[in-house]
């Protein structure tokens, strides 16, 4: 009998330990909406980014309170609210009353999903994504950091211009929300008296869907489903009637068009060059400086990542030369040797904390990239400070314009100087991070992060030192990881900060931060 007792005991232990391992891991930011700290009643007067007038997209005067038309819409809203399925009620919780946060999350997830570097062909060449045939391997887009920074800037600017217009009309027409007009309609979120025409949620749903569909064409159906769910939720939530939603959709679609027109002519389509062009850029650097970066993979990638991203249209920086740093120290120079020696020392004696910093900021392939990482910080900050939707859009628009500008400026420096990576200058050097397919100087992580931290410091001055510390840590992470020299990091941070200063200066013109 004794042996059976043992085995029963073992089974009991097993069952206990097994069940305690089960847990749900978070797949999104955990919040369900909040009371806005400020409704930003004057946001309709804020400076638009790509549009010239807050009435550039005309809206008709909404049906008046008490009109048969509005009463019918209210009755319809009431019915939708009372007959909502459990999925629809879940959608109301998911989208919240600041749904830009969710669309930003969707954008980061798609950036991650498409952040896959092309694998070599059997003959050792590398295929390139083709926007004209996006489903053919490698799928379009390859959402690398420059692509993601540009995608986020266009998305955020469309959202921001759309909400400035929405706010203008809200306070022009002053239509009360359905839960105010009809006491039987309940708001799913904390009531705040925000005027409902046009629906800010519908502006966000439509503009985000359209911009992201252009950026990730294979996700068209997924994005359409998301937008549909979001649009339905606005009425089920009791915060909009259908004419609010229709007006919001109109603005959203039009701002997306403006933004996508800009995107189609910003130079991105030429950023990934031919071999001939790539070689001429390389040779120019060789003649100018005497050194040249070469990809170290096997088989070798003969063209770096987007050599002409530095020529893509800037948002707020006047030109790349305005923030281009001086040349890096020549390989073999004392300053170079000092940095190289430091890299070898880190590699040989890396502390656990340094390794953690390198990995925390790695944001490499199959991640949302450094621009995404800073968007995630912004999201948490915006919700923590309970910003209104339009104030939220403002943060993301300026953040992502600054990040994109820093990326463009950084890429200009990368291919202007064409500086070799540590694994090239120090044969046999091994790293804990993968070395990316573009030159070293300046560090992209440093430039993106330096820019992002300055914008965040402007909008959230109480946490300014935290953001700047993070930027420095992000810059150092690449040195700990063995893929950048100290001078790449220093110049990148500086370049990022200088790039962001133009965006911050533009934001300051509104005088509201």
């Amino acid at each position: 009998m004794k042996k059976y007792n043992y085995s029963i005991l073992l089974f009991v232990i097993f069952a206990f330990l097994g069940s305690s391992c089960v847990e749900d891991l978070p797949t999104k930011y955990d919040f369900t909406g909040y009371q806005f700290s400020n409704l930003d009643a004057n946001a309709g007067q804020w400076k638009l980014v790509l549009h010239t007038s807050n009435e550039q997209i005309p809206l008709s005067t909404p049906a008046a309170s008490g009109s048969a038309e509005l009463l019918k819409e209210l009755a319809d809203a009431k019915e939708k609210q009372s007959k909502a399925s459990s999925a629809q009620r879940e959608a109301v919780k998911y989208w919240t009353n600041n749904p830009l946060v969710r669309w930003n999350e969707i954008a980061l997830e798609l950036a991650t999903k498409y952040n896959l570097i092309p694998a070599p062909n059997p003959d050792g060449s590398y295929p390139v994504p083709d926007p004209a045939n996006p489903s053919k391997y490698p799928k379009f887009p390859y959402s690398h950091p420059p692509y993601t920074s540009r995608m986020l800037a266009h998305l955020s600017v469309a959202q921001y211009d759309g909400l400035i217009m929405a706010w203008h009309y809200k306070y022009k027409f002053k239509r009360q929300a359905p839960y105010q007009l009809d006491p039987q309609i309940k708001s799913a979120y904390e009531t705040n008296g925000l005027f409902s025409y046009p629906s800010d949620g519908a502006v966000i749903a439509t503009a985000s869907r359209d911009v992201l569909t252009a950026m990730f064409p294979l996700e068209k159906e997924f994005l359409a489903r998301k937008a549909q769910e979001h649009l339905e939720s606005l009425i089920v939530a009791g915060i909009n009637v259908s004419s609010d939603v229709e007006a919001g959709k109109l603005i959203g679609a039009e701002v997306a068009k403006t933004v996508l027109t800009r995107a189609s002519t910003d130079g991105m389509k030429n950023a990934q060059t031919t071999r001939v062009k790539s070689d001429s850029i390389k040779n120019a650097a060789k003649e100018r400086f005497g050194w040249v970066w070469e990809n170290q993979e096997t088989p070798q990638r003969m063209i770096g990542l987007v050599p002409l991203f530095g020529k893509v249209r800037l948002w707020n920086v006047p030109n790349v030369e305005a923030v281009r740093p001086g040349p890096p120290p020549a390989p073999g120079s004392p300053e170079f040797e000092k940095s190289a020696k430091e890299l070898k020392q880190y590699a040989a004696n890396l502390t656990t904390n340094q390794r953690k910093i390198a990995n925390f900021w790695n944001d490499g392939l199959n991640t949302y990239t450094p621009p995404g990482h800073w968007n995630r910080f912004a999201k948490e900050e915006v919700v923590g400070k309970k910003l209104s939707p339009v104030r939220t859009a403002r943060v993301f628009a300026y953040l992502n314009m600054a990040i994109a500008d820093a990326g463009i400026a950084c890429w200009d420096a990368k291919y202007y100087y064409h500086y070799p990576r540590p694994i090239q200058t120090m044969p046999g050097f091994k790293t804990i991070l993968g070395t990316p397919n573009f030159p070293a100087y300046t560090s992209g992580h440093a430039a993106f992060s330096g820019a992002a931290a300055e914008v965040m410091a402007h909008f959230f001055p109480s946490n300014a030192s935290q953001f700047r510390t993070w930027a420095e840590e992000a810059a150092m992470s690449r040195i700990y990881g063995g893929i950048h020299y100290q001078f790449d990091a220093d110049a990148g941070l500086d370049q990022g900060r200088k790039s962001a200063a133009y965006s911050v200066a533009r934001a300051k013109q509104d005088g509201v931060d």
Partner: protein, 319 residues
């Protein structure tokens, strides 16, 4: 009457068998190079006897399965995983054994610039019990159960695959083993296990696993492990040889994304053929030698390992 006779005979034979087995160091077969040791053989150490083993294993691959597609990646070239493992097996009673193991692992690749790592992997603790013994025909049927637990024994980073020392999670395994051995020496063994794995901690708080995960915690999939073995005792029980087919199937998990590094969340499946030999210099304890060979024949999200192992064992009566 016949039944009683058989029981009586079994008991006698069993005593003889255990005395005889007391001369042999119960070894533990082949490690899975991906994971800590899982004891699944069909031998028992008698009460008071201890076996100390030191095993070395090396496995290499130059191709791996990305999902179910095999890929060559010259930026890894040939990948090598070496493992040195001290192990201790002790007979608590004739029917209950405990097994302790603590592997030291070293990884390296011939291609690319990513650095290999080395260090202590997982502490393994296992208890094996005889639940059934019965003479059938000219042989004996034995049933065992085994409960195993392993836990990372250093702060190695699991989220650095394929170089990481292990998957970085606790594993609790429960296993059933049946063996039928002819008195002449040949035997057949089958085992089946459920391996419950916990979570690994990454050093980043966002990752993609068929969608976004905003956490540093990675869920390592549970797995089912099966093994079929044909073996035999030779040369008056001084030599034991075995051929096995081992199969691992993860219960969940995602695939390695195109040209990306593997993750601890991956669904790792494989089938492997193995050869094993154990030789005892004396029939009254002391030193023994182990040699193993393995070849992965199919897989998913896993390197196509082939490898060998060598070990030395020493057995003595402690009590």
């Amino acid at each position: 009457m016949g039944f009683h006779f058989h029981v009586f005979q079994t008991t006698l034979a069993m005593k003889k068998y255990f005395r005889f087995l007391g001369l042999l160091c119960a070894s533990l077969g082949i490690f899975t190079l991906a994971h800590a040791q899982t004891p699944l053989d069909g031998l028992m150490m008698p009460k008071g006897e201890i076996c100390i083993a030191l095993q070395y294993e090396q496995g290499t691959w130059d191709r791996y399965w990305e999902g179910s597609t095999i890929r060559v990646n010259q930026n890894i070239g040939t990948f090598t995983k070496q493992m040195g493992m001290p192990m201790l097996v002790g007979g608590i009673t004739d029917k209950i054994n405990v097994i302790l193991s603590l592997p030291y692992v070293k990884t390296a690749a011939t291609g690319g610039q990513l650095t290999g790592v080395q260090g202590i992997q997982d502490l393994g603790l296992s208890v094996k019990a005889v639940l059934l013994e019965k003479s059938i025909g000219k042989g004996k049927l034995t049933g065992f159960s085994n409960l195993s637990f392993s836990t990372p024994a250093s702060n190695y980073l699991a989220d650095y695959m394929p170089f990481s020392l292990g998957f970085g999670a606790n594993e609790l395994g429960i296993r059933a083993i049946v063996k039928y051995e002819l008195d002449m020496g040949p035997y057949f063994r089958a085992s089946y296990a459920y391996l419950n794995r916990g979570t690994a901690q990454a050093e980043r708080d966002y990752y993609y696993s068929n969608g976004s995960f905003y956490t540093a915690t990675m869920d390592v999939p549970d797995a089912f492990q099966g093994q079929l073995t044909l073996g035999s005792w030779l040369f008056n029980h001084k030599l034991r040889v075995e051929a096995s087919l081992t199969t691992i199937r993860s219960a969940s998990g995602d695939d390695i994304r195109t040209y990306c590094m593997p993750l601890p969340t991956n669904k790792v499946d494989f089938d492997r053929v193995e050869g094993f030999a154990q030789y005892y210099f004396k029939t009254n304890g002391g030193f023994g030698l182990i040699a193993t060979y393995q070849q992965v024949i199919s897989g998913r999200n896993m390197g196509q390992f082939s490898g060998y192992g060598l070990g030395i064992t020493y057995q003595f009566k402690a009590l």
